[in-house]
């Protein structure tokens, strides 16, 4: 579904992504972990070209990601994204947030978009919040609304860029539950996260990044129980002891 080859990205002098190769199969859940500044968010944002890579190629469903314009917009319509800061449209209600892209991008009728939106809001457990402005919701509810908004486009793949990092601890669970449900339903997912429990539970494969490179990748139980590289062992020792 996603194929990345030789991806390089610089922010000025800083080499953020270093010859990154990544494959994500249809229906696969890949969780990307690593210390802050390891390039995992940048990798995620390159996949739908919110960041433009400096070299390398990215194919989504066999098609190279277009550089710009309507072709890029069409590709993004098929790639859902969930952000750390939710980024719900502040001037619209939760329902309108979910309806906007299907009506404007897909040309779905308002009635049908509204029906789908209500279904999706029920699926993520916030049906009763549909008429509210995003700022009236808790962080966890906002993030679930953002997931519903992305799902409304019926994406082929979902990207999650640290979806629980801005949440109060008590709200992390409700968002991870929704994501675990999605994974169980067979959604293709790339998840950048610090939630090791989620990685172990929901991932088909864990990708460990450090210093802009993919250092190690493997099946979650094997990775967490017996990491092969020193760097991964060191990282896990730091995050898992707390």
């Amino acid at each position: 579904m996603i194929r990345v080859r030789g991806l390089n990205k610089w922010f000025g002098e800083h080499h953020v992504l270093h010859d990154v190769d990544l494959d994500v199969a249809r229906g696969e859940v890949v969780v990307v972990i690593g210390p802050s500044g390891s390039g995992k968010s940048t990798l995620c944002r390159c996949l739908n070209r919110l960041e433009a890579a400096d070299s390398g190629e990215i194919l989504v469903d066999g098609v190279p990601v277009p550089a710009e314009g309507r072709a890029l917009a069409r590709l993004r319509a098929d790639v859902g994204m969930v952000f750390q800061n939710f980024n719900l449209f502040q001037h619209k209600t939760v329902l309108e947030n979910v309806m906007l892209a299907p009506t404007k991008v897909r040309g779905v009728s308002r009635a049908e978009a509204e029906r789908t939106a209500h279904e999706l809001l029920a699926r993520v457990g916030i049906a009763e919040q549909a008429g509210k402005q995003p700022a009236r919701l808790s962080g966890g509810q906002q993030q679930r609304a953002a997931i519903a908004r992305a799902l409304a486009m019926r994406p082929k793949v979902m990207l999650f860029d640290e979806p629980t990092s801005a949440l109060d601890p008590e709200m992390v669970g409700e968002v991870l539950d929704v994501m675990t449900g999605l994974a169980a339903d067979g959604m293709t997912m790339v998840v950048v996260t610090h939630e090791m429990g989620f990685a172990r539970r929901a991932a088909d494969r864990v990708v460990f990044m450090d210093g802009g490179r993919i250092v190690e990748t493997g099946e979650p139980n094997a990775f967490f129980d017996s990491p092969r590289t020193d760097r991964a062992r060191d990282f896990l020792a730091k995050v898992l002891t707390h």
């Binding site: 919110l50 917009a73 994204m81 449209f89 502040q90 906007l100 404007k104 700022a135």
Partner: protein
């Protein structure tokens, strides 16, 4: 006082022209401002450059100079239009630069994540501007745009200098007959103040009504 009351029809006529010019040039300025800000925050370097040059040029020239140039210069190159129409177009182009800058500050006040989320959903740049970024930007700049509206109202008086008989020119004509500048221009000033007060009232209401919780 009688100087004022004896010439109410002339004042009224002048006020009507002022209001017409204000309304027409504000609508034009709003359209110009929207186009310029879309170019200026957009992804196309050439359009960004054109919009920047436009804003810098129009903001750095006095409106009176532009009015005189248009009224005397355009007929030279074969463009002929009525005085009032010419003045409306010039004021619209001039104030459009200010509206574009007010809107741009509004766009900058909206978090980058809003536009990113819109584009990540497959909206084109134009759609994300229209449905997500500008509606929010506009809400944050209601007050500055109200101020531009008031400045624009006052600036229509410069059209008197190129022969449009609006409120200021009408007052001037009456004064030539009556030679009582204080009541005559105080009267004209009060009329401008009333327009400005209405604008202030409307922007205050709009600002409260459009406020978005964040």
């Amino acid at each position: 006082m009688s100087a004022l009351l004896d010439h109410l029809p002339e004042f009224w006529q002048g006020l009507v022209v002022t209001l017409q010019m204000t309304a027409a040039s504000f609508v034009g300025a709003a359209a110009v401002g929207l186009v310029i800000v879309a170019m200026r925050v957009g992804p196309v370097p050439v359009l960004r450059a054109v919009a920047t040059v436009y804003v810098e040029t129009l903001q750095n020239l006095p409106l009176l100079v532009l009015l005189v140039l248009a009224v005397f210069g355009l007929p030279e190159i074969g463009l002929k239009a009525g005085l009032t129409t010419t003045a409306i177009v010039v004021i619209a182009l001039y104030e459009g630069a200010y509206i574009a800058e007010a809107l741009r500050s509004g766009v900058n006040a909206i978090s980058a994540g809003q536009g990113e989320a819109a584009r990540a959903l497959g909206l084109t740049f134009g759609q994300s501007l229209r449905h997500v970024v500008l509606p929010q930007a506009l809400r944050t700049v209601v007050q500055p745009i109200g101020n531009i509206f008031i400045a624009l109202t006052m600036n229509t008086s410069l059209a008197a200098a190129v022969g449009v008989v609006e409120l200021t020119a009408a007052a001037n004509r009456v004064n030539l007959l009556e030679a009582q500048p204080i009541p005559i221009f105080v009267g004209a000033g009060l009329a401008y103040a009333a327009v400005a007060a209405c604008a202030g009232f409307v922007t205050g209401r709009l600002e409260r009504r459009l406020a978005v919780a964040r």
